[in-house]
Symmetry: C2
Subunit: 372 residues, 2 copies
């Protein structure tokens, strides 16, 4: 084992890194524009075929009336909630305690929009209909994230979703979908994007998760809603003179990967099974429902990282580049797995060899139990 | 003259369009990335060489301690004012009545930040030191736009700027520079960017005006200020996972055009002289102080457009693609001119021929005076 090498470096150097769709590098852009007609007119402040055609294409895919391209989901979702709050005359919404808006956006929703979120349910599990029923305060909008990323990408059963949708509609609560990974859940539900979105009033989707674009998001909903979202997009500073670098690449990778979501989902189930076969290791969910899951280790980063580096170096398989801190408990850690193009590119026997070795190396430490 | 053709179409079809740096087309991106190393790592949420090196480069050019790349100037400037307001504990700023924040941003500053702007001076002229002296209310920050775009790109004398800066510093008023066209004014002042910026506490510059990039902006100032701006950038939804499509192109065109600002400025003076030689036509400023100016016509769009289309078609010179409405008075209109690469690409004798023809065609209508 090389001295002083980090897990990320070992991952980078491995012959077969298997997470996601590949390295975050300028190649993604160059590939998407290779052979593209340079005479094509830029979008100018939200106008022009290059943006309007893509907005129409994704609106149709989602079965929504209209769609607007945004530079980021952070911007799109704050704006969605703001519009529903303004319409209701009520600056209160509800979402999961680990919602992106609550933990990754520096409180933009509160600081810029003065919107007061109710954290619904508990950190470790999905929002349930009973949580919504038990709300004491009126809310303008409920945001549901499908799948719930921060708990490994879990999903409610579709019937529960339908019940939540019906409940909200009956009470005039707008239902917004954080669909950052919407495309990735269609195989599990056995539903089209449009069938899922039909339960919601507005939807955000991302183009750099399973789709593997560079950045960018779509916000979709009724035409009056998306028109208003354009005003807020300008206020936020998101109405760039040209967004085509993100649009062209989103469109390119959308066409290339939208048909591969079932393959990624199957890969995730297979890979989760391999992790669950290791001592002191379990995945959440145990059986993935999309291309993603979390892997929890009953071992601290300090002990686990050298083991992983050894596995990567001996087998050439790079499992993942980073572990997330002590998963609130000493002597544990976890990582997030996304299955994309790379998983099927790696020889299966090498992957099995890597897990054989990982099991072998974890066996003695698992017997000792966690450190300290 | 072709029937039913618009001014924009005639401009597009002309052999020598002479405004700016060329068509807004995907070619701009393709050219900037041609031969670029695809293995270069993407910036990830504001980190990485590709963004950090460019931020350092522009901070050094501006002589500021630190700089942050933003997707748009709209976002950068609202955030700059917000930070200075928060520091002063006072949500009031002052700027020109035709400031970008006042007329082009759907009131983002008010709606998102609750900041109350005082419109200083008058629409038709620059802000003067006496305007600032006569302020009755305290302000956290004064924004000056150099050059003042909506009045043709006018500039105060440098001595007045120095006096304004000294006045603001003595009173604890932060001075922010809207430098959307800062690079373009260095030849007139005979000063470097850093010498101009030294009078200000914070500066925004744009990369798709004279520089001719695709989109994007830099906000520069003290390190504590730019660090805080990153938090607000995330809140606004501007902390994209990758901004390199704009950064690489900004850097490419910066290197290509930063040395040409004097050439553009000389071209603008020459071109303004040609316009001022036409009856019923005058430029503001009469003598440009950057690469831009406005041309005002004592003639309505309906009468002027067919004349211009005729000139473009007969001479092959496209002067500009669009006229702006009735410049508040019936029977007048105006346009904005920017001189970039295209002006020197057109044969001078053809340009002179176009103006000879324009003078000839305007002569009879100018004698009749304005319509109605």
């Amino acid at each position: 084992m090389s001295k002083g090498i980090t897990l990320a470096e070992a991952y980078e150097r491995s012959a077969y890194p298997i997470r996601g769709n590949g390295k975050w590098a300028v190649r993604q852009l160059i590939e998407a524009f290779d052979g593209y007609n340079g005479d094509t007119a830029s979008d100018i402040y939200g106008k022009g075929d290059i943006i309007e055609n893509f907005q129409r294409k994704i609106a149709d895919c989602l079965g929504m009336e209209s769609a607007v391209f945004f530079p980021s989901g952070t911007m799109a979702q704050q704006i969605a909630l703001r519009i529903w709050c303004d319409e209701a005359g009520l600056k209160r919404v509800a979402y999961h305690p680990l919602c992106h808006l609550e933990i990754h956006e520096e409180d933009g929703l509160k600081e810029l929009h003065g919107i007061d979120p109710i954290l619904l349910g508990e950190k470790e599990r999905l929002i349930r209909l009973e949580d919504i029923r038990s709300l004491r305060d009126d809310i303008a909008c409920l945001l549901l994230e499908l799948p719930q990323r921060e708990i490994g990408g879990q999903l409610p059963e579709f019937e529960e979703l339908e019940a939540i949708s019906a409940y909200c509609r009956a009470r005039g609560i707008k239902l917004h979908l954080d669909g950052a990974r919407l495309f990735e859940i269609t195989p599990y539900y056995g539903k089209t994007e449009a069938e899922i979105c039909a339960l919601f009033d507005s939807v955000y989707v991302s183009f750099y998760k399973g789709i593997g674009g560079i950045a960018g998001a779509i916000l979709a909903g009724p035409a009056a809603f998306t028109e208003t979202s354009k005003v807020w997009k300008r206020r936020h500073g998101g109405d760039l003179i040209s967004l085509y670098p993100y649009i062209v690449s989103a469109d390119y990778y959308f066409d290339r990967r939208i048909g591969k979501m079932a393959e990624y989902y199957e890969g995730a189930k297979e890979l989760a099974g391999l992790y669950n076969g290791c001592p002191g290791v379990k995945t959440i969910p145990e059986q993935p429902v999309s291309n993603m899951f979390h892997v929890h280790f009953e071992l601290g980063k300090d002990l686990l990282e050298p083991i992983l580096i050894g596995v990567y170096e001996e087998t050439g398989i790079g499992l993942f580049p980073a572990l997330r801190g002590q998963d609130e408990r000493e002597g544990t850690c976890y990582c997030e797995i996304n299955v994309g193009d790379l998983y099927d590119n790696a020889p299966k026997e090498r992957i099995h060899e890597a897990f054989r070795l990982l099991r072998e190396k974890l066996e003695p430490v698992a017997r000792i139990g966690k450190r300290g």
